[in-house]
């Protein structure tokens, strides 16, 4: 069953078409992957679904639980249960990790905050009173942002490059966190060009040049991505510009 539908989405940025008549369905309770080469429009699609500033002037429609959310602001979409983890999370000078994690968990107790930090492989005693600022590495901020998503328990989590800046030892923790999100009823969309991340999903969309090139099983999409996209001379351009989506 579709939880979120993107219908004929077009987006222009600085006069350039970034999303090109893109349509896809995100199924409730599944882990999806949005794959494609750099510049394909994956993050742009996530920003547009989330309604970030600069990504709201679109043609087409975004339907969430049967209701158009195209006209809604970012915070309104979030309160409906949609959220986003950035490829490079923001730094907050002076804001402590415990206060940052309380934002989405609406004052939940310390035990919850400790639990979500443990789930991403961070020792709570070492992090709760630290600031979410430049004293944390990119990987630590990435994990803390994922912890904040776990605390939020959203209906849909768009995770942009969840492995970015994460060391090999911690990668399993990130993948476990994705499983926890799913178990808690969150529909997950992993935005990636990594085959390791792609394999955590049950279903994938392949995007190229702002268009949906293919969708289907992980095996099918990873094979196509490896065989056709990686060696493609025309990076980020469909091999057949007339080709639409196919299952």
């Amino acid at each position: 069953m579709s939880l979120l539908q993107v219908k004929n989405l077009n987006l222009f940025l600085d006069g350039k078409k970034i999303l090109d008549n893109l349509s896809l369905d995100v199924w409730e309770g599944h882990v999806h992957a949005l794959v494609g080469p750099n510049g394909a429009g994956k993050s742009t699609l996530a920003f547009t679904i989330m309604g970030l500033s600069g990504y709201q002037n679109i043609q087409g429609d975004i339907i969430y639980k049967g209701e158009s959310i195209t006209h809604m602001g970012l915070d309104e979409r979030a309160r409906k249960g949609i959220t986003l983890a950035w490829q490079e999370p923001a730094r907050f000078e002076g804001l402590k990790v415990k206060d940052y994690l309380k934002v989405p968990s609406h004052g939940k107790d310390k035990k919850t905050l400790e639990q979500v930090l443990n789930q991403v492989g961070l020792e709570p005693a070492n992090y709760l009173n630290r600031a979410v600022d430049k004293t944390l590495s990119g990987g630590e901020r990435k994990k803390i942002e994922l912890a904040s998503i776990l605390a939020m328990k959203p209906r849909i989590a768009l995770l942009d490059e969840p492995d970015s800046g994460i060391d090999v030892e911690s990668l399993e923790k990130i993948f476990e966190a994705v499983k926890i999100l799913k178990k808690d009823g969150t529909t997950v969309v992993l935005i990636t060009h990594s085959l390791a991340v792609l394999k955590q999903a049950e279903h994938a969309f392949l995007i190229c040049c702002g268009r949906l090139l293919k969708k289907g099983t992980i095996d099918k999409i990873s094979r196509y991505f490896g065989e056709k996209c990686i060696p493609c001379d025309h990076k980020n351009r469909p091999q057949n510009s007339q080709q639409g989506s196919s299952s």
Binding site: L74, G94, L95, E145, M152
Partner: protein, 308 residues
């Protein structure tokens, strides 16, 4: 409740510290000394004046005052002037930490004028934190002025916080002269609302070889508030190192100016500066919005973080 407790309750600090004989303190209401305690090695001499007080504090050579000294410079009347003339001397290798509470909880038209001369002798360490708590009327005018002399290897760390209530007008003017291998850290954190006016003028002279200094200002201005920050570091000795850092968040019709000045008179000295003024960072804001906060809630949290 006695008059000391009555005033001290506004400091948001546990008043039991005033009952600890090992904690030195002074509690002033305008020009009246309401309470005082001192500890061995710390000499405090207070003289009441018509509109304020003269205070002389000396820490004897080699003495480390073990517990933070509390100075409460408050004023309960709605109108009036409080003038503090203060001289602080830290003798060689002494140590002192002071938490000053400046509370004007009912102020409608109050002036708080502080003129301080601070001498920190060789190897001495002085930490001074000044926390202001004002009424919501905006009727307080604060003029803190200090001249500080740091001897060789001395350290001076100071923080000025004005985060509770309305600023009214604040006009900080601090000058510090730093001798060989001394260390200066000066921070101001101020939250301006409505028609508040904030002026910060801090200067550090790194005169001694290897002297170090950091001047930091973190200011938020909202509504119609105005802020002008002039922080200057001058290095005139080899291996002097310094940094001037100013961050200002501007919301609504607030206005902010930052003028970091760095001056180097020796080729072996090095000073850097950084100033950032603007609205809250878009990525910070959008991150918090994507967790379901409203824009007002998100801005408040970001500003609280900056000023924390």
């Amino acid at each position: 409740m006695n008059s000391v407790d009555q005033l001290f309750q506004y400091t948001q600090t546990d008043s039991s510290v005033l009952k600890d004989p090992e904690v030195a303190h002074v509690v002033l209401n305008q020009n009246k000394v309401l309470g005082q305690n001192t500890v061995p090695g710390l000499n405090v001499d207070l003289k009441e004046m018509k509109e304020g007080i003269q205070a002389f504090l000396t820490v004897e050579e080699g003495i480390h005052i073990p517990k933070t000294v509390h100075l409460c410079f408050g004023m309960m009347p709605e109108k009036g002037v409080q003038r503090i003339e203060m001289e602080i001397n830290l003798e060689k290798n002494s140590r002192l930490a002071v938490l000053a509470h400046c509370v004007f909880p009912t102020a409608v038209d109050v002036q708080h004028i502080m003129n301080a001369t601070i001498n920190i002798a060789e190897g001495a360490q002085y930490s001074y934190i000044e926390k202001h708590i004002h009424s919501l009327e905006g009727g307080v005018k604060v003029y803190p002025k200090a001249t500080v002399h740091l001897g060789p290897y001395a350290q001076y760390k100071t923080e000025f916080d004005l985060l509770k209530g309305r600023v009214g007008l604040i006009d900080i003017d601090y000058q510090t002269h730093c001798d060989t291998k001394s260390v200066l850290e000066m921070t101001a954190k101020i939250n301006g609302l409505a028609q508040d006016t904030i002026k910060v003028n801090e200067t550090g002279f790194l005169n001694g070889k290897g002297a170090r200094g950091v001047l930091t200002s973190k200011i938020a201005v909202r509504d119609e508030a105005k802020a002008e920050i002039r922080n200057k570091l001058t290095a005139s000795a080899p291996y002097a190192r310094g940094h001037v850092d100013c961050k200002e968040i501007v919301q609504d019709n607030g206005t902010a100016t930052a003028i970091p000045i760095v001056e180097v008179h020796n080729p072996k000295a090095h000073i850097t500066h950084e100033a950032a003024i603007g609205s809250v960072d878009a990525k910070q804001l959008q991150t918090l919005l994507s967790r379901g906060l409203s824009e007002d809630e998100a801005v408040e949290l970001i500003i609280q973080g900056l000023l924390s």
